[in-house]
């Protein structure tokens, strides 16, 4: 159903370039008018510790050993803006929409707060306003308003080290493999998001395997693909059910009448 258009946008995140300065995180809060959160020390540098209704973009700090020494790996996380998003497939009321330009956007006026998207998303992105009597879902929207004006997302604009590269997704995939090929010792040979779950608009290249950074191991099929196939068969199921039931009714009625005649 929904998928990327011809010139769909994407962002390439080069984890070798990220210094963990969190300028992207601040820019996200500021552009989207999201308030700061009161947090406490959890024994790590992640702050806030996870996505929330008010935090759509986040730097994750992982301590990983590679090349025989201790290293920090900083990972900017946000909505991956899947090419075939599970949240869009499962949303009861179609409040989530995949636009041809790439962003997965949310229509709060449709949302009934069932939270199926939270369960459906393999990346744990949609967040609910738990503290409100009438809560809604909130998530990164790929700064769709900025994209519509032809400029990059706020987080990309704020990045001082060019760890985030904004452009056409197809070109970014090529660029990602070019960087890996140019310096094979610096990267693992994996562009996360090229194939995962049918592809994502945000792409990652990294010095360490992605499972060490909390990325889920996903196949190439869109997550909700199986259920979509079954759902598309609904008219067939319904017709078959009505036909089978009518047939059964007719058969058993004849059987009963036959039995009555015999008795008579």
């Amino acid at each position: 159903m929904s998928s990327n258009g011809k010139n769909a946008k994407g962002v390439l995140v080069d984890l070798n370039r990220c210094t963990g300065c969190r300028a992207c995180q601040v820019a996200c809060k500021s552009w989207n008018d999201n308030p700061a959160e009161v947090t406490m020390c959890l024994g790590c540098y992640d702050n806030p510790p996870d996505f929330s209704a008010d935090t759509w973009s986040l730097i994750r700090f992982d301590e990983v050993e590679y090349n025989d020494k201790f290293n920090w790996v900083f990972t900017k996380r946000q909505c991956m803006h899947c090419v075939e998003p599970a949240c869009v497939t499962v949303c009861t009321v179609g409040a989530l929409e995949k636009t041809p330009d790439g962003p997965v956007i949310y229509h709060p006026e449709k949302c009934i707060g069932c939270r199926y998207c939270q369960y459906g998303c393999p990346f744990g992105v949609p967040r609910f306003e738990w503290d409100k009597p009438l809560g809604l879902i909130r998530k990164c929207r790929f700064c769709v308003d900025r994209l519509d004006s032809g400029i990059e997302p706020a987080c990309v604009k704020a990045c001082p080290t060019d760890a985030l590269t904004f452009g056409d997704r197809e070109e970014l995939v090529t660029e990602a493999y070019r960087r890996i090929a140019a310096r094979p010792g610096k990267y693992v040979n994996h562009v996360y998001g090229d194939k995962e779950a049918g592809g994502t608009s945000w792409l990652y290249i990294s010095p360490v395997p992605f499972d060490k950074l909390g990325f889920p191991a996903l196949g190439e099929e869109p997550v909700a693909h199986a259920s979509e196939i079954i759902m598309n068969a609904t008219p067939v199921t319904l017709t078959a059910a009505v036909a089978a039931l009518s047939g059964l009714y007719w058969l058993t009625k004849r059987r009963n009448e036959g039995m009555k005649e015999k008795e008579a």
């Binding site: 499962v90 069932c114 939270r115 609910f128 306003e129 199921t237």
Partner: protein, 384 residues
């Protein structure tokens, strides 16, 4: 047939009965108060739900109660489609049970929604790819069907024979519509599991989930009526429905569970996950508890003549199936991993709060009370 008992005049309950009714009334009021409080202050303040565990006790009960309420479509199938008239005495109590199960589910869903004020959203904002969209529509339409199937009881009581015969004339199309709608949403609840491959443990995630959900709803529906009617026999102090009729339902359900078992194990064999059955980790053990209670117990026990002839034996077996089904539906929803994004934030847990329990128990208590009074005041157990 001699099984009919007219119950259109209210009979005073026994002393124990009065105490039980009193407790149910208190639980109902408690559920009402906590439910209103939850609507006033929101989900965060009243539940242990979080972004990691966005669905909880309430949704698990919805899943299980819809299968329990499958009693109505199963008996409609048996009596009107398969034309097994022996079981006609169970049909009206089954419709009552199904109707109250579905109304309970609707009430709980409303309280569980982030925006209960927009519960009607699925009617005007369709997403035909969403299993929950289809389930919502089917439940709406099927509750209307159940109300139509239930209406003759009310109009018989009110002495409006014209309305009764009008509904009666359409009983076959209404029944077929109801069973077809049930086939769809009972199986589509399984499709919800199918849509969450990362959230459902490999011992449960399967392409067959829609079919397995449908079959287990039929099996559960048959046992639900055994359980409900044997409790009712006790509560009313007389045999409302004869034991051999209920034993017949149990015997019939053996075949449903045999087919279920073959599909379930065959599927694990096919996907290569069969070995996980014998790992005996948390989920391996959970799998066996579920198989023992929901599948093996009814196959073995309902096949034994001694069990079929004993009210206690039938009650225990039906109870085992019900508990097993709850295990099954909760496993579909909660066997997977929550999704943490932060590096150190993988410690989220979930345990229902007092309010979650109070609301859930309150709705169930209200349904039990409604069942009792309907059985007292309406011709649930009378024959035309």
């Amino acid at each position: 047939m001699t099984t009919s008992v007219k119950t259109t005049t209210f009979k005073k309950p026994s002393a124990t009965g009065t105490v039980v009714l009193g407790i149910l009334a208190v639980l109902t009021v408690l559920g009402l108060i906590t439910g209103i409080y939850r609507l006033a202050v929101g989900l965060g303040a009243t539940t242990d739900l979080s972004d990691q565990y966005a669905w909880g006790l309430w949704l698990g009960f919805d899943f299980a109660l819809i299968a329990f309420g499958g009693a109505a479509f199963t008996l409609a199938l048996v009596v009107h489609v398969l034309n097994l008239k022996k079981y006609e005495v169970v049909l009206r109590p089954a419709i009552l049970t199904g109707f109250l199960s579905y109304v309970s589910v609707l009430v709980i869903l409303l309280i569980d929604l982030g925006r209960p004020d927009r519960f009607w959203g699925f009617i005007v904002f369709p997403n035909i790819h969403s299993p929950l969209f289809e389930v919502s529509w089917c439940i709406l339409l099927y509750t209307i069907v159940l109300a139509l199937e239930f209406a003759p009881l009310l109009f018989e009581r009110l002495n409006k024979p014209k309305i009764v015969s009008a509904i009666h004339a359409a009983v076959i199309p209404i029944t077929i519509a109801g069973v077809a709608l049930s086939t769809l949403h009972q199986s589509t609840l399984g499709t919800i599991g199918l849509s969450l491959p990362g959230r459902v443990h490999p011992l449960w995630w399967s392409w067959l989930l829609p079919l397995l959900f449908f079959l287990s709803a039929i099996g559960m529906g048959l046992s639900a009526m055994i359980l409900v009617l044997l409790i009712a026999n006790k509560a009313f102090g007389r045999e409302l429905v004869k034991l051999d009729v209920l034993a017949g339902l149990g015997k019939g359900s053996v075949w449903v569970w045999v087919v279920y078992a073959v599909l379930r194990v065959g599927d694990l064999l096919f996907t290569g996950d069969l070995g996980r059955m014998f790992t005996f980790d948390t989920f391996g053990i959970l799998f066996w508890i579920e198989m023992l209670l929901m599948v093996i117990a009814p196959i073995v026990l309902y096949s034994m003549e001694g069990v079929r002839k004993s009210a206690a034996g039938l009650t225990v077996t039906a109870l085992l199936v019900t508990v097993g089904l709850f295990f099954n539906r909760f496993a579909i929803l909660f066997s997977g991993d929550p999704v943490p994004v932060g590096a150190m934030h993988a410690t989220a847990t979930y345990f229902p709060t007092f309010i979650e329990f109070a609301v859930q128990i309150g709705v169930l208590a209200a349904a039990a009370l409604a069942w009792y009074f309907a059985a007292q005041l309406l011709p649930v157990f009378s024959e035309e």
